[in-house]
């Protein structure tokens, strides 16, 4: 990827990959309240370890790997603080925020789809959730996802297959009755 190979400094990495990191952290299960801290941690690690990058993968994959570990750490912390962590952002399921009266049809549909998506993701085990996010939401190759996760390719494929099965099941449960389209 040309943009990735142009990532020549931590500052450029921030500008280039901030959106990806932000979005992925949420999808990996970092609660909304911890998102700022988690994103900050990712890029502090990126800065501090910039010269430790081994060229065994792309910078983007390396940053995904950091984001995954930071997300795991923040999710663990959140679980310790709460008896049970709901991966779904409470704001997203607040009916006031989803009122069609205050939103355009398009933004309402987007938010509703987002709510269902997060609710389904929240039903997956961490490992399954991570590979599904990387491959099906972030549209990375399974090879790249395996590198970021630090697992071999066979493990990645079998985990992805399970993740998709469980995601489909969770999706059915998360959809409002009678809903066909997001």
């Amino acid at each position: 990827v040309a943009a990735d190979s142009d990532c020549a400094s931590p500052e450029q990495a921030f500008e280039l990959h901030f959106s990806m990191v932000w979005r992925s952290l949420r999808r990996f299960g970092v609660p909304e309240a911890a998102l700022d801290d988690a994103a900050q941690d990712v890029f502090l690690v990126v800065h501090r370890r910039w010269n430790d990058f081994k060229n065994q993968s792309s910078r983007r994959t390396w940053i995904y790997g950091i984001a995954l570990r930071v997300a795991s750490e923040h999710s663990r912390r959140a679980r310790r603080e709460q008896s049970r962590l709901s991966a779904t952002d409470p704001d997203l399921v607040n009916s006031e925020h989803l009122s069609p009266d205050t939103l355009t049809d398009q933004s309402f549909r987007q938010r509703e789809a987002g709510r269902v998506l997060y609710e389904a993701l929240g039903q997956l085990a961490d490992g399954e959730r991570q590979i599904l996010v990387l491959v099906d939401l972030e549209e990375r190759s399974v090879v790249e996802a395996a590198e970021a996760l630090g697992v071999n390719l066979n493990t990645a494929y079998s985990r992805l297959r399970r993740a998709r099965q469980h995601f489909e099941q969770a999706l059915k449960a998360a959809r409002p009755p009678g809903s066909e389209e997001a």
Binding site: D6, A8, S9, P10, E11, Q12, F14, E15, F18, S19, W22, R23, R26, R27, D36, A39, Q40, D41, F43, L44, V45, H47, R48, R49, W50, N51, D52, F53, K54, N55, G65, I66, R69, V70, E73, H74, R77, R109, Q110, R111, A113, G114, V116, L117, D136, L137, G150, Y157, L160, R161, R164, Q165, F167, E168, L171, E181, A182
Partner: protein, 259 residues
Amino acid sequence: VSTELSSEARRLIQAARGFDDASGADRDRLRERIATRLAAGDSTPLASEKGWLTRTFGSHMGSKALGLVAATGAAVALIASWPSTKSLAPGEAIVIASPSAITSAATGSGRSPEVEVTPAPPQPLVREPEPGARAPVLEAPSAPSHERPALVHVPRKAARATTEAARADIAASQLEQELKLLSEARDGLKSGNTTLATERVQEHERRYPAGILAMEARALGVDALCAAGRREAAREAAAAFLKRWPESPLAARVRSACP
């Protein structure tokens, strides 16, 4: 068992696209937070760094200081802490890191510059380019595409490592040059040589329109113009600065530089 997602699931993912994207405010807020931590030289290990970093990235933990950005942070901190002309006492000494010391830290070849670094207010990590500005001079030169490839085999990893090293050198070199220009401009301002100060700031603007220290250079430019008695030009420069960096920690200083 199908290994693909159903079309329904794909439609849902597509419909939710953009739903959880970061806003510009998110980006700006995080940029500032990270810069603050770096400028303050905070090297407290993060919980996320413990253990797995050693396994993942090798054993030389913390061996290369903070790399280019930390050096940049230190440099920015120094410049940001410069007082404005009106607060300079006669003969007041201003400590500034030597470019070689900064470069040394940037390339990881030595320890951090041995100067006192005043913790700085939040700084942007990267300056946004001005409209029409040319790209930052950070790219390694590349061969024209029509040239035939060399017959010498270069291992891919070695080539990548060389490119990374070359980029780091170029970035460090740019920082060194920017620091030198700003240091000379500041010296000119201190000694009353406002022509020299203005020239050095203008040279910085011409060579590095979106440079690492662009914000500090423009702030210094306002000081230089004001000291030269070009108050109208100073006010215009201040207005341009505030328009470009309204949230800058230097904004208050720039605003009051030339009343």
